[in-house]
Symmetry: C2
Subunit: 204 residues, 2 copies
């Protein structure tokens, strides 16, 4: 007497959210109107409305999902070489993967930028922005702990500060690459990240 529920509602919602991402990356979040989103994911406006009562709900979900995916990836278990320069190199690679060095990650970074900026003037989105920020900070902290493990124990507050330094550096490098994604700029980005890691292994 009930239970039609043919389509996977959650999958549908994610598909719609991804359409929002596409538009946000290519035209800015403010262009993600219901109709534009419907066109982007080949659905009718009615379908979108069936999955999301209001546009606000849709935008929140779209940001929640992107934050959740980023966090999942940052928290993914990893194996690192046990010691020495191998480990440092591995961590540098890890950090590099967060940078928009190819088209796919550039798109992700553009999505991040548009939602983060929107979050500055939208309290609901602000919560997700802080979540994402915390996750990245934690990720940087883990990296710093790994890097400083090899050398004489340092004050934890110092490591925290260096983690925040790293975190901000990554954000800034990301922005710089979005503004100028030239290959020269990409190379400089790589060198800066590697230098940072190298300095950390040497202790300062």
């Amino acid at each position: 007497m009930e239970m039609p529920k043919v389509v996977d509602e959650e999958k549908r919602r994610e598909r719609i959210a991804e359409a929002v991402w596409n538009i946000a990356a290519e035209q800015g979040l403010d262009h993600a109107t219901i109709r534009a989103v419907a066109a982007e994911c080949d659905l009718s406006v009615g379908s979108i409305q069936h999955s999301f009562r209001t546009q606000e709900e849709l935008k929140c979900f779209a940001m929640e999902l992107v934050v959740q995916r980023v966090i999942t990836r940052l928290n993914a278990p990893r194996e690192l070489p046990n010691h020495g320069s191998d480990k440092a190199a591995a961590i540098a690679e890890l950090l590099m993967e967060t940078m928009p060095l190819d088209a796919e990650r550039e798109k992700e970074a553009r999505i991040w930028a548009s939602f983060s900026t929107a979050a500055l003037t939208d309290e609901k989105l602000g919560a997700y922005s802080r979540q994402m920020n915390d996750a990245l900070e934690w990720f940087c902290l883990e990296c710093m702990r790994e890097l400083s493990a090899s050398r004489d124990s340092e004050e934890d507050s110092d490591i925290r500060l260096e983690a925040m330094h790293l975190h901000c550096l990554l954000d800034g490098l990301t922005i710089a690459l979005l503004i100028d994604p030239s290959s020269k700029h990409r190379q400089e980005t790589e060198r800066i990240v590697r230098n940072f890691v190298e300095q950390c292994t040497r202790g300062v």
Copy 2:
């Protein structure tokens, strides 16, 4: 037979542009509709239209003006102590002034963030974004040159890279402060900037 021109047209345009800034900082650039701008600066829609033919023209001018003012401030001639730790401290102060550590600068940073993000998907604004970026990069480079002047000459390319590092760090710290402007966060920001300057004076 001509020349009424009572009001200073340029002043008027700047006043309107500043209204755009206010709205961008408080609600996001997409809320800066003609009517909202008119209300913000107590003018009629007709007056705005007299000064700016289209909304696009207004947004471009508003960004051009903000970029121009930032650049002017960055390029302002300064006197620095001649040598040693005094100079380093002065430069740290200089850098700190670019951070959103009070309400006024936080507002400026929010304006910067909204326009910069809009510039990612608006080619016209993109030009101004790159201008501002170059100016900040140059400013950082000057700071790094001052800091490294005291110690053995370094490769210029290394200094350039450190300048880019500093530049990105400042951008990232700015974003972090916009997301979490707590006083604890502000203190951490100050410590990171000072540590950076100090490390530069020591050479690495």
